[in-house]
Amino acid sequence: MPAANSIDEPILTVKDLNISFVSKYRDDRQVIRNVGFEIRPGEFVGLLGESGSGKSTLGNAILNLLTPTARVTSGELLYRGRNLFTIPAEDLRILRWSEISTVFQSSMASLNPVMTVRAQMEDVFAAHRGASGAKREMTVEKSLDLVSIDHKYLDFYPHQLSGGMKQRVALAMSVLLSPDLIVFDEPTTGLDVVVQKSILSRLKTLQESMKFAVLFISHDLGTVMEMADRVMIMYAGEVVENSPAADALSGVAHPYTIGLLGSYADPRDAEINIRYIPGRPPSLDSVPVGCAFADRCGLATQECREPKIPTAEIDSPAGHRSIKCVLFGSETSDPLPAPTIFDEVGQQIDVHHAALGAGEVVCRVEDLNKTYSTRKGLKHTENHAVIGVGFELRKGSVTALVGQSGSGKTTIGRILTGVEKPSSGTVTVAGVDVGSLKRRTLRNYRSKVQLIFQDPFQALNPASSVGYAISRPLVNHRKLRGSEVREEVDRILGQVGLTPPSEYRDRLPHELSGGQRQRVVIARALAAQPEIIVADEPISMLDVSIRAEILQVLNELTRSNGIAMLYITHDLLSARLIADEILVLHEGKIVETGSTNQVLTQTRHDYTKLLLSSIPNPWQSRRNVPSIPAASSTSARA
């Protein structure tokens, strides 16, 4: 436990850190640029950034776990005054875990698959026999109690535990030696929203009782803002803002922070407003001179392109703020910019809704059941994935199918697309029962139904060009030939916003960003001119700042082309944004259904309520902060 008198002394100080990835075969890439910050005892610090911002490298650097190709080119990493980069290896080893411990992103991979939970936890004690008496008070059992895991799981192997349990084990392991600082690297990514919520609240409780400091690395600003005392926002290898959480939410912050926050809202609000930041972060090979964010910033001026961008040091009632933006000047005496100017940051998404029940029914699902039977030895188990589900899809309208993982929502999507056969019940499209289709007729059916996948990285053949991917439905389903194909490909590329088409037609998927790929996937689905599109979590793998943008594209295209869309998601906020009707699925059954507004504002079922409460909302836990400042002003304008 940190001594009382050191409460204001930082336990960790990072000074002017620069890290590059070096390679014999290409220029060095500087991934961490002049980063400096402090963490004080018991402080909960969030480190935020999109993929590629360097936040994980920074986390690894603090743990001194950089891969051999990463070089610290300059800077210091001081833990209670000792530079971790230079202290003797044995000193560092002893310091590890007893002072700084960590929880990695995926405990699937971070627990040794061939050792029991107990063995892996006891390893820590074996390695730190010299740890002080206080630290020995904790036992393996006690730590499990802290995260509410039954002791019997100690003798289990990691693969026998669920993802959430593994992460709790990792959490328990991290506090074994009562460290003063724990680094969490995306600890809940990949977990179900409800599980995520429970783990985070457990972490918060533990932190409050054990008083360790936390560095919480995440891409999810909403989650971090709920918990952190202070947040650091990274962009292109730099910390662009380092502020108390309350200040970051105040509406006066780095434009990038504002932009990121624009992606969050409470879906229950009568009117919500979501903004996104157009464009992509720069490649680390060629970070532009001056402010790296300038290219995407609506407020950028000539000043932002100057080589030296000053960092404003601001004292606020909540604490100290550092913001690297010309808007804030360089002197503490400089006045804060007015909140209203941030209205220009990011772009508001523009979505349309159809009235419930409008449009002709193109697909009718009646009393759908799907049972998987598995045989294990002589034991025969049945798993009812879908139970008595029925709904309709209408032309030009979006139906959201909302549920946790394992709720059966993906199975419904697969049945609807003819990939799987239902156990009973019917899916009728244009008078034909999809379940009865054979090979030949199924192919015809697929021209009417298209899929948009969750993972844009998997959905495109890495070996084929964008133009080829989009041309296939044109050739196969629409029987276009020669120049017709080419013209149509270009037209569709334009529709999904990949302009000029000539720029994208011949590219291979790996040359595109995640958002661009998802646009290509959408384009391919559109190319078949389907009547129905099934979109399975189409934005969950994308960076937060561009999710809204993709939603907008989806919304626009289904409605303007008169397509019925089944939007499968776990995320009620995104459902709120584009769906006309929401079906809430729980354990294979539809537990609540109705128009979007009805479901969200007059929620009846507890499960829906649970889902709603799991949505990260930066403002939720800080009711003292005015709600959605940017939203009020822009909605007025809309």
Binding site: R29, A70, D295, R296, N461, L512
Partner: protein
């Protein structure tokens, strides 16, 4: 995940033209690997020697009119055999056989493995069961004894036999790998997407699956070629090859059975072994580069 920076592809904002994007095709990835580059250069040298053998070799390798049993030196760079054949010329011509065996056996093995792997991976049920069973069977039947037996009892000896024997015993591993790869690929979203795009089976196989197996296929080919060259040498050394073809294996065989060790004709025994070693080294080095294609973790950074 570690090193997110290196794994996430480089991204270009839509508003920025993509001219900065350099496409690194397979060849460039392999060539950028220092080891592979060395291997390619050595291999190219061997190919050159094999192609230009008639120019490089001072004598016909089978011409037995030279003075027999000479030590290296003078007109006979590596001496002559007991039959009066020029060893250096034999060495030069031997490159042809090794390269041809490597190439042909590699192609045959790879083709068999690819076809069986594809069919087994694509067709489920009985066909897959039978093919998987054959693969497993072929993997457990001891290869060398089988090779030796077939080679020993074959009515005809020659390159085609060697290639046949190598193909017969060497396809299974590749087939298993390729089957696994097909199973992995066919469950990928982009294959589903191709089906939804209305593509037929053959198009899916040749446009979606095969292009994504290229590095595996090439690596399999290199492995098979290395194995084939080694097997040819081994079989020839056991006297089971075609003793009338001039290959490095048969040179070793003749050197050994004619007492090169005894009479001190070092070059006769040493040269073919070293040449083999150098050729296999070259191919192994190239394989490192190809590994890097399929396994980015092994890429040299």
């Amino acid at each position: 995940m570690t090193e997110v920076e290196t794994l996430v592809p480089r991204e270009t904002p839509p508003d920025r033209p993509a001219k900065t994007v350099k496409r690194r095709n397979g060849w460039q990835v392999v060539w950028s690997n220092g080891k592979a580059r060395t291997g390619i250069v050595i291999l190219a040298l061997f190919v050159a020697v094999a192609v230009c053998a008639p120019v490089i070799a001072p004598f016909n390798p089978k011409d037995s009119t030279l003075p027999p049993g000479l030590q290296p030196g003078g007109a006979y760079l590596l001496g002559t055999t007991n039959l009066g054949q020029d060893i250096f010329s034999q060495l030069v011509y031997g490159a042809q056989v090794s390269l041809i065996v490597g190439l042909l056996a590699g192609v045959v093995v790879t083709l068999i493995a690819l076809v069986i792997g594809l069919v087994a991976g694509l067709l489920q049920g009985v066909v897959d069961e039978i093919l998987s069973f054959s693969i497993n069977l072929a993997l457990v039947v001891p290869a060398l004894p089988l090779m030796v037996t077939i080679a020993a009892y074959s009515p005809v000896h020659g390159l085609s036999l060697i290639i046949f024997v190598i193909a017969l015993t060497g396809w299974a591993w590749g087939a298993r790998m390729k089957r696994a790869q097909v199973l992995l690929l066919r469950s990928q979203d982009f294959v589903t997407a191709a089906r939804f795009s209305g593509d037929g089976l053959w198009r899916i196989v040749f446009r979606e699956l095969v292009p994504n197996m290229v590095s595996l296929v090439v690596a399999g080919f290199m492995g098979a070629a290395i194995g084939a060259i080694g097997a040819e040498a081994g079989l020839s050394f056991l006297g089971l090859g075609d003793p009338s073809t001039v290959s490095w294996g048969s040179m070793s065989y003749w050197a050994n059975s004619n007492g090169a060790m005894l009479t001190g004709q070092w070059a006769w025994l040493l040269a073919p072994g070293l040449a083999l070693s150098l050729l296999i080294t070259a191919l192994t080095l190239i394989n490192f580069g190809i590994d890097a294609l399929s396994n980015p973790q092994l890429r040299e950074e």
